[in-house]
Amino acid sequence: MPPEPIAADASPAPPLSIHDMTVAYQRKPVIWDIDYLAPRGKLVAIVGPNGAGKSTLINAALELIPRASGRVRFFGEAYRRQRHRVGYVPQRESVDWDFPVNALDVVVMGLYRKIGWCLPVLRRHRKAALVALERVGMADYAHRQIRRLSGGQQQRVFLARALVQDADLYLMDEPFTGVDAATERAIVEILRELRSQGKTALVVHHDLQTVTEYFDEVMLLNMRLVATGPVDEVFTTENLRKTYGGRLMLLDHAGHAIAKGGS
């Protein structure tokens, strides 16, 4: 069992609460009426088929895309006021890796808000970024141009950029997609470290087999919220059928993984 979360502050508000959130692209709603309370100090997997609105959920919560309706609160307040406590790891494909910066420069970007408008990056900021890179095992690559990093290494740089913020809640969009085993291990280690510090992480995850191993809680999503709660209660074949429909092959696979995780 994970250790009891360390009370970072006195406020009892959950890291993330979503009420009746509906998001629509053009005229078609992608997710509707999502109600969700994120538990503190837990690792939560957001699971669902392609097009289920997993990334949309995160993007809408972070106000990157407009919400049709609903209310989202971070630590009991509007995102605007709690931004500094929320770390975001976007999908790796969302940027051009040919950009003329090195790994350290990218991580320092996580500190820009703290540095503020028009002020330069100082040595202590670079030092903090280097520490974050070290945590993801990338210190040796700090000065390498990001194009010359492997996919997994790029993902770890993105993770370091979120870590350097020292947030209390992390939202990660498919950090495990297309990474090598070494990176996967590094990310899992970081997630556990975050949890032991009483922090919360919501991770969009596509690999059903590792859900039981990596996460405490799961959120099953397919345009609507199918189920949410502790993995051993919610990650059932019945719920997966509701989420994925009748793709039995996949379900057998997942069932196998559950059986393995339960034993």
Partner: protein, 527 residues
């Protein structure tokens, strides 16, 4: 001011010559200055000497206006221009180089934002703005139509309108960005040309020189113009300097910037405002057709030299400054050179140089790196082949053959599928670096140095093979076969495990001794 550009003279002839002159000026933009040495018969526009025949008060360059022949300036003229001793030249050069500096900086971000062509849209879209501003000012008080701040304000408004139309077309319809760019660019420019034709028919006569906005004319800029250009450029440079990290973040990862609470729309607007400002002040000296080149070429050239945003910006600014200096100085020396075209050509020349010899991404550097890698691989293959040949000569149960035994070229050739010419190349390099020595024609043996190297190559190769077999899951992220020694990449315990496996598979390879003794007194290759 002196230096009336050909454009100015052409349009003063009125509609009659306008079509002809447009075509001709296209040609002159392409061929730049050297067409100017053609005979008057080939350049009917040049028969117009109304301005040229006036006595000129300009001390430098301007004296050559009266004749149509291409004349080299005297040494004292060159010195006077290059050292900016003459007041008029000085202000023109200062104004234009500051413009180059601002263009290099703004262009860097425009390029990285992947909106290079937006600069072209702003340039072309500003034409109707210039025309309308002229008409408005002229109708207010005839003769005032060419007040530069007013014209540039019109250009800015039209440029922003062009940019906004592009964005609107792209986001409101299903038309893609490239088509949206083409549509706005063409429409605005077409409108501008129509308005210019109307202006040429006006009886005022003060429209002369307005077409300088199309092709640019650095030399006809007066002191007041330069003051304006200079001020706008300084503001643009300061803004870029202050917002450097914000612009960088926006260009790299807009979504992350938004999630962090940066007002991305505002930052984007400031950046695009910067681009419009540079375009508009560039109109006067470079012209709207070529202003996009002034923005993009320095930035694109700078990318070949560095992988760091700050250095790329400085490098682009430097290239912008050099191009503008060269362009403005040559137009001061050769009165008939179009400054805008020379500025862009100087930039293109620097781009070509960067393309080939750029230290980061230059074609030559890449070619050289690849060749070095191929040579390293070939050298490793040669050593491995040597090692395997000697190894294969060992008869089980009998003593191992001497490590420095001779190997024939044909044996090497049949060992791998490599062309004889390439093998010969590798052998030649190995002979030159004292890894091999030649015993007789096409018979070689390893030197003491070569024996150590061959052993290391074989061990490295086999350890990597085993690693790939044993750790297939994490291997792709770790394997670096180009690394000189496996020890530089993998940790000691992994290598110790691999060595045990290696010893099982190849008993002749003693484990755990990658490179023990100096080559002189170490045992033979296989013992």
């Amino acid at each position: 001011m002196g230096f009336p550009a050909r454009v100015g003279r052409a349009t003063r002839d009125g509609r009659h010559t306008s079509r002809r002159s447009v075509a001709q000026l296209w040609l002159s933009t392409l061929l730049v200055a050297w067409t100017a040495s053609a005979t008057p018969a080939q350049q009917p526009v040049n028969h117009d000497h109304t301005r040229a025949s006036q006595p000129s008060s300009e001390p430098s360059g301007a004296s050559s206006l009266a004749d149509n022949r291409f004349a080299w300036p005297s040494m004292s003229d060159i010195k006077r221009v290059l050292w900016m001793q003459d007041y008029n030249t000085r202000i023109v050069l200062w104004g234009t180089t500051t413009l180059g500096l601002a263009a290099g900086i703004a262009g860097t971000f425009l390029l990285l934002r992947k909106r290079s062509l937006l600069g072209d849209v702003v340039g072309h879209a500003s034409l109707p703005g210039v025309a309308i501003a002229f008409l408005v000012m002229e109708s207010g008080q005839p003769g005032n139509g060419k007040w530069l701040p007013g014209l540039l304000l019109g250009a800015s408004i039209a440029g922003v309108a062009g940019m906004a139309s592009t964005v609107a077309i792209r986001s409101l319809t299903r038309i893609k960005e490239d088509a949206a760019l083409a549509i706005t660019l063409g429409s605005f420019y077409g409108l501008g040309i129509v308005l210019f034709t109307i202006i040429q028919d006006l009886p005022t006569g003060s429209q002369a020189g307005l077409a300088n906005f199309i092709y640019g004319s650095a030399a006809s800029i007066n002191q007041g113009d330069v003051g304006l250009i200079w001020r706008v450029a300084i503001v643009a440079i300061l803004a870029a300097g202050l917002l450097f990290k914000e612009f960088g973040l926006l260009c790299f990862d807009e979504r992350f910037a938004a999630s962090q609470g940066w007002p991305v729309v505002l930052i984007d607007l400031i950046l695009m405002g910067l681009v419009v400002a540079v375009c508009v002040i560039g109109l006067r000296s470079v012209g709207l057709l070529l202003v996009v080149a002034l923005l993009i070429i320095p930035a694109a050239a700078a990318r070949f030299w560095t992988d760091k945003l700050s250095r790329m910006t400085l490098c682009a600014a430097a290239i912008g400054v050099i191009s503008c200096y060269v362009g403005a100085a040559s137009s001061a020396l050769f009165s008939r050179l179009a400054a805008g075209a020379v500025i862009v050509l100087a930039g293109s020349a620097l781009f070509c140089v960067s393309l080939f010899v750029g230290t980061r991404r230059g074609v030559l550097v890449q070619w050289y790196t690849r060749r070095q890698l191929n040579r390293r691989i070939a050298a490793q293959h040669l050593l491995l082949a040597f090692f395997e040949i000697i190894e294969s000569r060992a008869i089980p149960g009998s003593p191992l053959p001497s490590a420095d035994s001779a190997v024939k070229f044909d044996e090497l050739l049949s060992r791998r599928s490599w062309p004889a010419s390439r093998l010969l190349d590798s052998v030649r390099i190995a002979l030159a670096t004292a890894v091999l020595e030649s015993l007789s024609d096409r018979v070689y043996r390893l030197t003491a140095l070569g024996q150590v190297a061959a052993r290391r190559a074989a061990r490295n190769y086999r350890l990597w093979e085993l690693y790939l077999l044993e750790h297939a899951d994490v291997a792709p992220a770790q394997v670096d076969r180009d690394a000189e020694q496996i020890e530089h990449v993998l940790d000691r315990t992994t290598i110790a495990e691999l060595d045990v496996l290696l010893f099982k598979k190849y008993p002749q390879m003693d484990p755990g001794q990658p490179d023990p003794a100096p080559p002189g007194n170490r045992p033979g290759l296989l013992s």
